[in-house]
Symmetry: C2
Subunit: 328 residues, 2 copies
């Protein structure tokens, strides 16, 4: 099995973790959004890469979904004593990642190699790759002006109404080494339940990615990040309203309609299935909420099985023994 | 009163703190060795500046003399989890200093301005200045080869025998802005009880410094870092033996004999007073160990009064009400 997942932060990380559990780490490649990357104190911060890496390493903070479980804030408190009140809080342990990453980047290593090395050191077995080694920065055009992504997201708590989203540098940026080839040779491609506009679109904006997806022989499955008109986490639904779209799974399916073969709809939205099927997209209905680690694995197992039904020859793939005895 | 102190790390910091308490912060300028500075994870670390700054801010770790009291090691533990075992441990709070300093330096601010700003934010009232805004690096020629200072000092715990000490960059480096002028206009100059070879010599190696001291009108007093043939802390005595010198206060006095007018000898070494006086240097005998904060202030008060006796017109200067009623 050879599955490639496109992911952003928390939702994508949880689903990628489920995939690793369902199909085995060696069968999984995760391509991660880096449009949210930014610099703080000269350190290179890659929030989505970190969330995916920490989640796959089993050290993610279960309450926030980002950062490291049990992290402390002594460094932050000292920064406050210095009169600096950064709007982006870096935990004491989390800082180690940024220090090492920044040092390796300064030594001239590309972000993909740095990510591979950090993952190796944390015992993360799936291949995790940034979408690009080049600088791409998501910039949000809002009612209060252009905001770099983290200012919009963290500093302003995604409250300013969004008018447009730009991916600075994406036209010049190369997809990370091996990334297009991984998509071409995948037997399953999954768009994780991440924000389509802020987390997945930066990846799709890179040269060649959309073409590879349009020509892919592997089934491409998108998992909804919208349940009953609301995002599980983050600004997706609010953003959709501001962009003049109805916040619903149907709109998400439409966003990916050019290239997806299957869509995983939440069971709370089963009434929307026909609208999505009408776009020529297969639909699988599931509980997509992933409250527990088991939920992640079970959902991933179901999604892989769903993909299997969308291609001529069956690959199987899910290794889980489902507690309910199903091997859907 | 206008006192300028030359200082290295722990001993220098304690004595500078005593001076600030004895004569008032506004009367004190501390010139600090930066030959020990180095880079770790791309961060600029200034160990002696930090020790002086933390000590004057009242937040220095009383047990180690360096670092911040009550600091924690979560970041370090995470680095260990990453398989990195840095030989220089940075505490979680301490890291805030390095992050801010590095960011300000990267923004193009000189180290002297950065130091002023960090001190201001920590409420440190004396003027603290690095000896230079330019890069000077102490390199130790040892039996195992050339070692950058921190490798010699921390990684190898100053165990390799020293053959020579070099100050890379000191010929090209400019003394920090205002530093020579501060020495010229001082009414008291004190060489703190710091390592003469590793902490004070880097300052003396800078262009113009030795000339200013040779021509100074102010009394120049050195406080011994050697008591009964041993350093209070660190490698001074061991180093002296390795350099073929007798580890004694007499050798320290001889090292500074060109320009000092007075020498503060520890009471345990009173028998050496005549040898130092024979060099034409005034001697004041005191308990120089500085076990408590009060000890620092009392010693500083005595040193300032000693300086006062070495010049024609008396300035006074010490503001302390000595518990023993003396106003020596």
């Amino acid at each position: 099995m050879n599955c490639v997942a496109l992911a952003g932060g928390v939702g994508g990380a949880k689903f990628a973790d489920g995939l690793a559990r369902a199909i085995g780490a060696e069968s999984l490649t995760v391509i991660v959004n880096t449009g949210d990357d930014f610099e703080l104190y000269g350190l290179h911060i890659s929030p989505d890469l970190d969330t995916v890496m920490y989640t796959l390493a089993g050290i993610a903070n279960p309450d926030t979904g980002w950062g490291i479980a049990g992290d402390t804030w002594r460094n932050f408190e000292m920064l406050e004593r210095y009169g600096v009140a950064p709007w982006f809080r870096l935990g004491d342990c989390d800082l180690a990642t940024h220090l090492l990453r920044s040092e390796m980047l300064a030594d001239g290593q590309p972000l993909s190699a740095v990510t591979r090395e950090l993952c190796r050191r944390l015992g993360v077995a799936p291949r995790v790759t940034p979408m690009s080694d080049d600088r791409v920065r998501t910039v949000v055009e809002t009612e209060v002006g252009l905001l770099p992504f983290q200012e919009y997201f963290v500093k302003h708590h995604w409250q300013p109404a969004v008018q447009a989203i730009l991916f600075e540098g994406s036209e010049e940026a190369e997809p990370a080494p091996g990334m297009l080839r991984a998509l071409e040779t995948a037997d399953t491609i999954v768009i994780c339940p991440s924000n389509p506009y802020l987390s997945i679109d930066p990846i799709l904006s890179l040269r060649g990615v959309r073409d590879v997806l349009l020509n892919a022989t592997a089934p491409i499955i998108a998992v909804t990040p919208i349940i009953a008109g609301e995002a599980v986490k983050g600004p997706a639904a609010k953003l959709m309203r501001e962009l003049g779209k109805e916040p619903s799974a149907v709109e998400v399916a439409r966003h990916y309609a050019d290239f997806v073969n299957g869509f995983v709809l939440d069971e709370r939205d089963v009434a929307l299935a026909d609208q999505i099927k009408a776009m020529g997209i297969g639909v699988f209905v599931a509980d997509t909420l992933m409250k527990s680690v088991d939920d992640r694995a079970h959902l991933a197992c179901d999604v892989v099985s769903f993909a299997d039904r969308l291609r001529p020859e069956k690959l199987g793939g899910c290794r889980l023994n489902r507690a309910d005895g199903s091997s859907r």
